[in-house]
Structures are given as C-alpha cells and as structure tokens.
C-alpha cells in the first residue's frame, strides 16, 4: 500500500504527460488509480470486519524512530474507502466540469497529489509521517482553492485557508512532539495502549491544547470556521472532495484516532462537546443567511463538523456509534450535494438559489439526486441521514456535561439544517421556471454518475442499515474501548429522539417557508458578524505586515555594517550566556609560547591593526592578506597541512576576487562618524574578547576532546589516513552536503545580483542620459 500511495504521487506528476496521450479522457484514466485502491481496500474487508488491525511495516528513518508504517483498522479503512471512492467519482466529475479548461493537467496533478496525501494521513501509524501528510494536504488544498489564480478573491481565500491550517499545523507539531515524549513512542498503535500513562502525565494539558488547535483549525471548528466558506472559491470538484468529504475531516479523524489515547478526561470531553456544539450552532445559523448555494452547503458542513466533534466529546459508546454513522452519512450526501451545486452553476451560470426555480423540468435527473441527498441532509426517513440524526439526539440526551445547553444548541442546529436542506433541494427545482444567465440544461453523464451513486448509497444504507453493522462495530471498537457489537435499525420505536425530530421538522419547514423574511431580520445582525473571528484574522494579518516592515527596516536595511553588528551581537549574547550562566568559567591559561609562535601572533595583530587604520583599500586588503598567511603559518606550526593549504588557496582567490571588485568601488571615503566607529570598535573588541575567553575555557583538559575519536577511527572506519578529509566526506558528510548547497546558493546569489544589476544598468544606459561629469 505504501508503494501504491508513493506511486500515486508519481502518477500525479505524470498527469501532464497522460493528458498529452488521452486528452479530455485523462480524468477518467486517472480515476482508475483511486478506484483500484478502493478495490484493494474492499479485499481487506474480511480482516477489518473480524476486528483485526493490519500493520504494514516499513522503516523510513530508523535512527529517528520514523516509520512509514501503515495502520489499517476500522477507522482508517472507513476513511480510506471514502477518500478513494469519492475521489474516483470526483475525478470522473472533473472530466466534464473542467472539459476543455487549459489548466486541466495542473488541476489533475494537484488533486491526485492531495488524494495521496490524504490517504497517507489516514493510514499513517507514525506521528511524524502523519504530520508530513497533514501538511501536504494543507499545501495541496492551498493550490486547489487558488486554482483560479487570476481571481483576487480566490487567492485571498487560498492564503487564508493556508495560514489558518498551517498555523494550526505548527501547534500540532508541538503537540505531537509532546505526545511522543509523554507516551514514549511515535507510533499511534502503541500510544493508544498507553492511555493511563498519557492522561496522568504532566504534559497532558499542554499537549492536548496543541493537538486540539491543530485539529480544530483543520476541521473548521469555531472560532476557526471562517476559512471553510471562503474556500468555496475553489472549483466545485474541490469543494465536493476536500471541503466536505475529506480534508476538513482530517481533524475529526485525528481526534477519533487519539480518542483512545487522550480521551475520557473531563478536559477532553468538555472542550470537545462545547466547541463542537458551538460550531454546530454557528454553522447552521450562518448557513441560512446565505443565498449562494455553495456557501449554504459550506456552512452546513461546518455544522456537520461541529456535530462530529461534539459526538467525540460526549464519548459514550452510543455517541461513537452516532459519530461513525453521521460521518458516513455526511460524506455521502454532502459530496452529492456539492456536485449538484456544481451542476447548477454549470447549467445555469449562477450560484444564487434565489435566482433559480422550476428547473425540475429541464434537469429531472439532477433534481431527483438533489432531493434524495437533501432528504438525507435534512435527516428524514428512510435515509442514512435520519439514522445519523436520531443517534445524535440519543447521544446528546446522555451527555455527561452541560446537557441542557448542548441539547438546546444541537436542536437549533438540527432544524436550521433542515431548512437549509429544503432551500438547496426545493428552491432551484420547484416553483416557477426562472430566467437564469445561461439556458439551463441537464448535466452530462460524467457529472451525474458521482452524485447519483452517492445519493443511492444514502438511500440503500438508510433502508438496510444492517449492512453497516460490521463496519460501525469495527470502527467504534477502534476509537472507543473494547469490543462493541452494533445493530443499527431505522425504527427504534416511538421515543424522545423521534419526538425531537418531529418538532425540528415542523420548525424547519416554518423557517423554510419564511426564509426570505428570516434572512431580512437576520441582516440586522450584520454589524456583529463583521466583528467575528474573521475580522480578528484580518487584524492579525495586518499587524503581521506592520511588524514585518518594521523589522525589515531595522534589520535588513542593506548596510553590511548593520548586518555584521546584529549577527555579532546575537553571537555575543548566546555565547556569553552559555559561557557565564550555564558553565562556570575556568580558564586554563598556561602561556608557554615559543618565540616563533609569538612572532606569528604579533604579525596577526599588526595586520589587524593596519587593516583598520589604512586609508587605501589596496593597503587594507594587503593587511588582511598578512592575517590570512599568518593563520596559514599557524596551521603549519601545529602540523595541520590540509588547513594550511586551504587557508593559502582561499586567501589567494580572495585577492583575485577583491582585485575584480576593488576597481568597481567609488573612491575611498570616510562615511561614518567617530561615534559610530567607536561603537564598531566596542562590538569588535567584545566579540574578539569573548571568543578568546571561550577558546581558553574549552581548550583545557576537563572537557572530552572530540578529536580523539576521529583520530582513532579515521583509518579503521573511514579507510583514510587524512583525518580532515575523512571527517569532511565520511563522518560529517551530511554537514558537508549542506555546505555544498550553501556554496552553490552563494554562487547563484552572486550571479543573480551581478546579472540583474547589469540588466538594470543597461536599461539605464539606453534611457536618455542625464549630464555626466565623470566622463
């Protein structure tokens, strides 16, 4: 499977090539990739149904405990199945949605890469691997939201989504590191067996906060929900895939995955259920204020994500069953509805539901699909959504904390969602036919097959919920504790949840009938809405720009002297701190100098002083040369021929470079004030003094010498007698590789700077010249 996922990234990269061969059929060809993966997963079903956990081991960086091991249990299987099946349909859908679009290959590259990242995320067993895939989904999502990169709004939304999710990702990384420290393992499978150890660990609260921030930002929980509706600037296949069925559920997946390891405490339960139910209510409340069909659906997705978080927070066995059923139901109907939204947009040229009406006649198939999916969203029998809602109410009624508040908010969200479902399914298709920007037409088959299959599955699972027993049991026992055997049914008899459903149905219909008036009333709240979390985000971004400008002007002002001073002062601070506060200063100074050593040292001092006071550049360069050659001489005296040769050669080449540069500089002039020179002198002497102190304190006998190891092992391990070279190319080869890249970058930098300077110079020269006085 690892090979399949990694190979999938390769296939993603090959999309432009495939596009050359298959043309407009490329998405269909590429859909074979997720489809075959789905078949492979289906083949694993007997193992999963038996409640077994599949560990596909793969070492990656054994030295750092990082593995590419995949862990396939019920939860991972369910998510992987959703990703591959909906992924295949989304690709088929894309084939018609972006037919003839010039950037189709680019789209296919990114969405396939996203698909593979998402698969890696839900299958990874190792925290680091999971995090890598997590960040990959953020980056690919950024590219997909901003797919229409000429649109300012799309770019802004893409950046917003990126900043929010990647910012959360940083917190998540910190959380993962603490998690691994507290649990003593990077493996999720092992961590879930160490729950007692984790819950009692001192780091439990900080790590929980960090992990939750990561999960909440990714899954658009209040107060981070605002990025998701803005992300609707993406093409519709992206919304249907990333922003309803997969990526936004990554945070939910993580919470479910960590539930056995971290769940069960009061902090966990209260935070999750309150944040979840707040998100639910916010999402549903904001949804009915919008007339853009994609925004309506996006806010109802926020509501659904809140529901899932809340159910995990309640955490009873009943709630976990509801979690799995609701998750599956939501992925099926929301994927279908988003694709329907794309059909509407595609067929009529508008996204505004108030501008559409009576399309039932021209789009009979789309209308049928939309109604079935919307019934599931509304939570009406006999669809899977009904089951999910009933189970949700049932779980809320047994919530341990803040039951009344949660019930009230969940109930409000439920009837508002019902209204949303009615708006989406009824407004465009029923009533009188309205004029739309484009003449409406039925969708091509490629765009219909996906939503039709997803809607049919909603209906099928609703009618025969027994089909899901095995999957739900396997998943719940993976995220909860112990063995669970579930028996789902559509009809549990007349009970309180059913009563709640009925009341919410009535209220929902009422809201739908009065929707226009409700919206008008809610418009009064607009001033409050503009001060929501999104305004906070905007203020933060503006503040960031201000700080960036300020610190750039302060630190990156283009004067090499300032760069030097800042660098040296930081060095002084760090070295000084380590020297005086973390270690006691013990000088080991035995001035047993030979005469010739003193001469060399004197030469160096003389060279340094001369370089400072010379009033000609050439003389200053020559003085620096004296220092360089004296250093080389020192290396010779201490029998380090390699270093001496290097020093000599570097000095020689420096002279060559300086000669080339010198002639280009203006006449030597004193540009600094005496005060500035005094300051520079102070910084220089402090640095020199401190480094000397450091050298004196580490050169004594009390610290272990690292060179002993090198000397002893250079020949046996490195097969070379030249210790310097063995260190460079064997013992410390990774450092050297890094240095090589630094050197290469420096060369590219010099090249670019001089070339662009020359180009700019040329441009100036060809422009009408001002009077020149230098000839």
């Amino acid at each position: 499977m690892q090979l399949a996922v990694l190979g999938g990234f390769l296939v993603a990269g090959l999309a432009p090539l495939l596009h050359r061969w298959f043309g407009q059929r490329t998405p269909l060809v590429m859909a074979l990739l997720p489809a075959s993966m789905a078949l492979w997963l289906l083949g694993l079903w007997p193992i999963i149904a038996a409640g077994d956990v599949l560990l596909l081991e793969w070492a990656w960086v054994p030295g750092l405990d990082i593995t590419l091991t995949f862990l396939i249990d019920g939860l991972a299987w369910l998510f992987a199945m959703l990703i591959t099946v909906i992924g295949a349909f989304v690709l088929v859908y894309t084939g018609d949605y972006l037919r003839g679009h010039q950037d189709l290959p680019r789209f296919l590259v990114v969405i396939t890469a996203f698909m593979m990242s998402m698969l890696g995320l839900v299958l990874a067993d190792n925290l680091v691997t999971l995090f890598v895939f997590w960040e990959l989904t953020s980056i690919t999502s950024y590219l997909l939201i901003g797919f229409d990169h000429t649109d300012l709004a799309a770019r802004k939304a893409a950046l917003q989504g990126l900043f929010v999710t990647v910012g959360g990702g940083l917190a998540l990384l910190a959380g993962f590191i603490m998690l691994a420290m507290a649990g003593g393992s990077w493996s999720l499978a092992e961590l879930s067996t160490r729950d007692d150890m984790l819950r009692e660990h001192a780091l439990y609260t900080p790590l929980l906060i960090c992990v939750l921030i990561g999960a909440f930002t990714k899954s658009a929980q209040f107060p981070f929900h605002f990025w998701l509706p803005n992300a609707m600037a993406a093409p519709t296949p992206v919304s249907a895939y990333l922003h309803s069925a997969t990526m936004v559920k990554a945070g939910i997946y993580l919470l479910a995955r960590l539930n056995p390891a971290l769940g069960g405490t009061d902090t966990w339960m209260i935070t999750l259920s309150l944040v979840g139910v707040l998100t639910m209510a916010t999402g549903a409340f904001l949804a009915i204020q919008h007339t853009n069909v994609k925004k309506l659906l996006a806010y109802s997705t926020v509501m659904a994500l809140g529901t899932l978080t809340m159910l995990l927070g309640i955490g009873t066995e009943q709630a976990l069953i509801a979690f799995v059923v609701f998750l599956l139901a939501h992925s099926l109907y929301k994927g279908a509805l988003f694709m329907v939204a794309g059909i509407l947009d595609h067929g009529t040229g508008t996204k505004d539901v108030t501008a559409m009406g009576g399309l039932r006649g021209v789009m009979p198939l789309t209308a049928a699909v939309a109604v079935v999916a919307a019934l599931s969203l509304a939570g009406l029998p006999p669809l899977l959504g009904f089951l999910g809602k009933e189970l949700m109410f049932k779980s809320v009624l047994e919530a341990g904390n803040f039951r009344a508040l949660i019930l009230l908010l969940a109930f409000t969200a439920a009837f508002l969602t019902l209204a949303v479902a009615a708006i989406v399914a009824l407004r465009p298709f029923f009533g009188t036919l309205r004029e739309t920007p484009e003449a409406p037409h039925e969708a091509p088959p490629g765009m219909l097959v996906g939503p039709a299959v997803l809607a049919t599955l909603s209906l099928l699972f609703g009618l025969a919920p027994g089909l899901l027993d095995g999957l739900v049991s396997a998943t719940v026992s993976g995220i909860g504790a112990g063995e669970v055997s579930t028996h789902l049914a559509l009809w549990y008899g007349f009970n309180l949840p059913l009563l709640l459903s009925l009341i919410s149905l009535l209220l929902g219909v009422l809201v739908f009938r009065r929707w226009d008036r409700v919206r008008g009333r809610l418009a009064v709240l607009q001033p409050i809405m503009t001060r929501g979390p999104e305004a906070g985000y905007d203020a933060l971004m503006r503040g960031l720009v201000v700080v960036a400008e300020w610190q750039t002007r302060l630190l990156q002002n283009g004067h090499i002297r300032n760069y030097l001073i800042v660098t040296l002062l930081v060095l002084l601070g760090l070295v000084g701190h380590a020297l005086f506060f973390r270690h006691t200063l013990e000088l080991d100074f035995a001035p047993a100098l030979y005469f010739h050593e003193a001469v060399v040292a004197g030469l160096m001092i003389a060279g340094a002083v001369a370089a400072c006071v010379m009033r000609s550049r050439l003389a200053a360069v020559a003085s620096l040369g004296i220092i360089g050659f004296s250093i080389a001489l020192t290396f010779v005296l201490f029998s380090a021929p390699d270093l001496a040769i290097t020093q000599l050669l570097v000095d020689t080449l420096t002279v060559i470079l300086l000669v080339l540069v010198l002639f280009r500089l203006p006449r030597f002039a004193t540009l600094s004030t005496p005060m500035e020179r005094l300051r520079d002198l102070a910084v220089a002497s402090l640095t020199g003094g401190l480094i000397t102190l450091m050298m004196l304190s580490v050169s004594g006998e009390r610290l272990p010498r690292i060179s002993d190891y090198m000397v002893a092992n250079s020949q046996p391990l490195g097969q070379g007698h030249n210790i310097v070279n063995v260190i460079l190319v064997d013992f410390r080869a990774l450092d050297t590789l890094g240095e090589m890249f630094v050197l290469a970058l420096a060369a590219i930098g010099v090249h670019a700077m001089l070339r662009f300077h020359a180009v700019a110079y040329d441009a100036r020269r060809h422009a009408p010249l001002p009077e020149r006085d230098d000839g």
Binding site: D642, L649, L653, D730, A733, T736, L743, A744, A747, R755
Partner: protein, 144 residues
Amino acid sequence: MVRSGTLILNAAARLLLPLQLLFSLFLLLRGHDEPGGGFIAGLVAAGAFALYLFARGRRALDEMLKVSPRDLVGMGLLFGVLATLPAWWVGEPFFTAQWWTIPIIDFKASTPLIFDIGVYLVVVGSVLTAITALVKTDQQDDER
C-alpha cells in the same frame, strides 16, 4: 578592467593550466590519505582557470570549458547526492560509506570519493561563477 594579458602571462597560462589541473586531480585522488581532498583540489583548479581567464579573456575560457560554471555547480550537487544512494541500496543507514576495489588497477573506489568529486565540482563551479560574473560586468563597463 581585465583584458587579455601580456605575452608572458599568455604563454605561462597556456603552459601552466594543464599542469595545475593535473595537480588538482592528483590532490583530489590522494586526498583521503594525504593532504588534499575535493575542497583544496577545487580551489587549485579554480585558481588555474582564473589565471587562464586573466591571461586570455572570458571568451577563451568559455570556449575551453564548454559548460557553464553554473552547470558544474549543479553536477557537483548531483554527485554529492548520488553518493548517498549506494548505502540505501544495500540497506544500510543513509550516507554509510561504501567501498569497492576495482580489480586490475587495484584502485579503491568509494562513495566518499564520489562525494569528494562532488565537492570539487561545486567549489570550481562556485568560484568560477563568481569570478566570471564579475568579469562580465567589467567588460560591459569597458564597452562604454
């Protein structure tokens, strides 16, 4: 400022260049056991090319090198990265040195040597990139 040099410099550069390059290869190959190595050898070679550049001009250097110094940098980095792969192939940790003996000439080939060649190329390429970039703008100045 850098113009094709005098007769003496011109002749000297032409004679010295092959010797210097041979010397740099010598330093490179013996570097693992005796003073030398990729970095030093690269500096020697770069110095040799710089001398040639000063003596005969930039165009002559370009014609002789055939490749752009920047490509040398890229090739060097490629060698550096390639040297990491054999260890992976035989299932040892990243960057573990591998040694092979080539039979007839009894030469010890190794990944550290490949790596050192990478260092050599990067050093030559970087120094030459910087020097030629400076010379190029100089020549543009001269055209004024």
